[in-house]
Symmetry: C2
Subunit: 158 residues, 2 copies
């Protein structure tokens, strides 16, 4: 339940990797290609390629063709949120369809729907949470995170 898809996982891993190569060591900053990432994380090459293409099309990363080509972050890691990445890969995120559907005919339960309001609150909180965390946060020097950090997260949503 609420599980991320493989594509989303791969996308996040790739972005984290690209970011750390780009920012990690100033002297060795370089462009990174799909094959390198795929081998590093044992991800099927073609699938990762497709994910990166999608991210490129959505303006999250920039691609460079030819030999010595590869990918770069389109903007600073600090300004790429998890929510943006997930939406780029898997479309608009919402706990239920009825919060962004164009045709209202979709939901037969809508007229008497009793869970719409409470769920909307949940959705907002999750979205806010995902939107408050960036790619930069993923690479930061936070090696270990304990259960107690929930408190921190709670503060975020309010």
């Amino acid at each position: 339940m609420l599980k991320l898809s493989k594509k989303a996982d791969y996308g996040l891993m790739a972005l984290q990797y690209i970011a750390s190569v780009q920012y990690g060591d100033v002297a060795r900053a370089r462009i990174v290609n799909t094959k390198e990432i795929a081998e590093e994380y044992h991800i099927p090459l073609e699938l990762l390629a497709k994910v990166l293409q999608t991210l490129a099309k959505q303006g999250i990363v920039e691609s460079q063709n030819g030999p010595k080509g590869g990918y770069l972050l389109a903007r600073h890691a600090k300004h790429i949120t998890i929510a943006q990445v997930l939406e780029a890969i898997e479309g608009p995120l919402g706990i239920a369809d009825c919060y962004h559907d164009k045709d209202s005919s979709a939901c037969l339960q809508r007229e008497h729907c009793n869970i719409r309001t409470p769920l909307l609150k949940v959705q907002s909180s999750i979205y806010q949470l995902l939107n408050s965390m960036t790619v930069e946060d993923m690479m930061g020097g936070t090696p270990l995170i304990t259960v107690q950090s929930i408190t921190t997260a709670e503060g975020v949503a309010r």
Copy 2:
């Protein structure tokens, strides 16, 4: 993305309905059967039945067979959290498999996984959010729901 399944939706709606029949008007408290709920919300009867069966097996509701049979909440609505319901219907909730997998062999990326820690934090936050909201919270006196009620909804959980 992060969308709830139909079964989860149906389950939550049904619980809300059962709860309001059970607690709403003390004089008219009664047992409620699957058919009634299915018709009220235009849900496929058999599917809703299966969801309720699952909830019964997980101890969220109690079933009563025979004519005049139906379902009752197994405990007070105040003590049934959204997280419990979702987990009962769709299995353990986790943003990625690797947080509750028995066999560590599943995740090939695990050794070099760089997004594990940050995602764990996200997951904890979401879990806590879902676990802090109960069925009782869902039945509160919000009869009609407009788009503007987002503000109201936000207030509900506090």
